[in-house]
């Protein structure tokens, strides 16, 4: 085979691909925008699913020193994570609080009497008044439940302390005063109660793996866009291509050489698109002040090159299945849709039924999505290097075999 033929063939294939890209540019851009918006939207919903709408609670406190003490105490209580996660406190008069509940601006109000602290210290259980709207939302019910749990905890502790002091007073002689005894027991109770929190060790396991939700859906959107970009390459395999290829074989460009050239053309094109897309993403996130953690490093460039090769092999296989362009495009679209749902690009795989999870584990799109996530946001693990390479080689070889069979048919 003359070198000239090969070089001209490479040039021609690039030109065919660019011609197809030019014709489909608007459609491709529109599709990319739709996929980008779609994945961003799903990411936004997923992020805010975890959000809990806090209730606004009005604290109605007495005037004077007792009120100041109670305000300090309630501020301390509000700083607890279990409280601040579900409620915001505001300090109002009783009249304003009742008005707020009626018009819905306040979801609950706690009214503490003038002698609330003194009553507690002297063992008089003056109840706090909790005002709630007639019809409560879930978050108000949650807050109400938390208040009841908190009071129950305090009451239980209080009962325990009283039980001990009463036992000592009735059964034993006291060497310290009752109030000192109660203070000592309160301290001991508090220390032991707080210690109990170390019994539970919280560990978070996320359906999104080690990525944040934003990173997860950036990787998903990127993978989907690159997958649908494959529609551009259909033109390289279309029309009278088989007639031309049979003639080219006489000139030494057989299905193996032609396959390798096409893989080269597709790999370089996808790589170029990836670089442009990441550059746009970096500019946008910088301008919007979003910390996405994307940087251009050697491992990113190499990883994208490998990813591009992997995608190219897949496309070469799909387009080699049939000589009818429309049929191949349909196959690609159907496979892409199946993969999109089963590979965790739309909903994380942990949310999918078992069957889809099992199917999704073997889908190339899952491997590309994970690969992109690792390439952009951490580092590409050696296992995924091998998987990406294997997909490119296996599917690419499969495509070449299909082309050889067509030549001989």
């Amino acid at each position: 085979m003359k070198k000239g033929y090969l070089l001209q063939y490479i040039r021609i294939e690039y030109k065919r691909m660019l011609s197809s890209f030019g014709q489909m540019l608007i459609s491709i851009l529109l599709m990319s925008v739709i996929i980008g918006i779609g994945t961003a939207g799903i990411g936004f919903v997923m992020t805010h699913l975890a959000d809990y709408e806090k209730v606004t609670v009005a604290m109605v406190l007495p005037e004077g020193e007792e009120g100041s003490t109670l305000k300090s105490l309630s501020s301390l209580i509000q700083m607890q994570e279990s409280v601040s996660d579900i409620a915001n406190f505001t300090y109002l008069s009783e009249e304003d609080a009742r008005k707020g509940i009626k018009d819905g601006s306040i979801q609950a109000a706690i009214i503490l009497g003038d002698t609330f602290i003194n009553d507690i210290m002297t063992g008089i259980n003056t109840p706090a008044i909790v005002l709630l709207p007639a019809k409560t939302e879930l978050n108000t019910d949650v807050f109400h439940e938390e208040v009841r749990n908190g009071i129950s905890l305090i009451r239980t502790g209080e009962a325990g302390i009283y039980a001990v002091t009463d036992t000592w007073i009735n059964g034993y002689s006291m060497v310290i005063s009752r109030s000192d005894m109660e203070n000592l027991l309160t301290d001991l109770f508090t220390i032991n109660a707080l210690d109990r929190n170390s019994v539970i060790n919280d560990t978070s396991v996320s359906a999104f793996g080690e990525s944040s939700i934003m990173q997860y859906y950036i990787a998903s959107g990127f993978a989907l866009i690159l997958l649908f970009f494959g529609l551009i390459f259909g033109n390289m395999y279309a029309g009278n291509d088989i007639t031309v290829r049979k003639k080219l074989r006489v000139n030494g460009i057989g299905p193996v050489t032609a396959g390798i050239v096409r893989l080269l053309v597709m790999t370089t094109f996808i790589f170029g698109i990836s670089i442009i897309a990441i550059s746009i993403l970096m500019i946008y996130t910088n301008a919007a002040g979003i910390s996405a953690g994307i940087y251009f490093e050697t491992q990113v460039i190499l990883g994208l090159l490998l990813l591009s090769f992997s995608l190219s092999g897949f496309f070469h296989f799909i387009y080699s299945l049939s000589d009818i362009e429309a049929q191949n495009a349909m196959i690609l679209i159907l496979v892409a849709i199946l993969m999109a749902f089963s590979s965790g690009c739309i909903f994380p795989m942990a949310f999918l039924p078992d069957v889809f999870q099992k199917i999704g584990m073997f889908m190339p799109l899952r491997i590309w999505r994970v690969g992109i996530s690792q390439i952009l946001f951490s580092y590409l693990e050696s296992g995924n290097w091998m998987l990406l390479l294997a997909i490119g080689i296996i599917f690419g070889t499969g495509g070449i075999i299909c082309q050889i069979r067509k030549m001989h048919s």
Partner: protein, 206 residues
Amino acid sequence: MLEVRDITRAYGKNKVLKGISFDAAPGDQIAIIGRNGSGKSTFLRILAGIDKPAEGTITFWGHRADKEKSVFRQFTGYLPQDNPLLDELNVQDNISLWSGRGGRPSEELIREFFLDDILKKKVSQLSGGMKRRVAIACACVGNPPVLIMDEPTAALDIYYKKEIRTWMKNFRQGNGIIVVATHDELEMNDSTKVFSMENGVLTCRR
């Protein structure tokens, strides 16, 4: 000198070519006629090196095609029945693909096939006759001594048919050999030898 000996080809159990043999000298135009599906196109594809025979040999000026890989490329130009051009590219790019050279084709080729006005035009914008003219130009790139043409003037108007027939005459006068499968009576009349293909057997008519 083209020598074809005992070419045989089968598709499964169906033998489509049975011991085809003939000779052709420079200046000859060999016409092969026959019904549709008689094996004419299959034979021409074998002659052009696109398909392989089950048995038999083809020799171009003493060079055995089954022994030397580059023989078909050196000695033949092939015009298939289907359109061999890439429609989305222009005429110049299509010619480059077959010449192995970029840029403007040789002036001789441009002059011979009147390509000057259409070099930068996309093939999809050309008429049927122009496409056929360009396809013949692509087959002639590299000046092959043997041209294999499968129904070169099918579906063309009489003006293009005349143009291509004139060109074929000039090619033969330049000591080229043409092997053409045809249904056209005028092409048959222009030929030095006429063979008919029936049931895979080639019979000489003239």
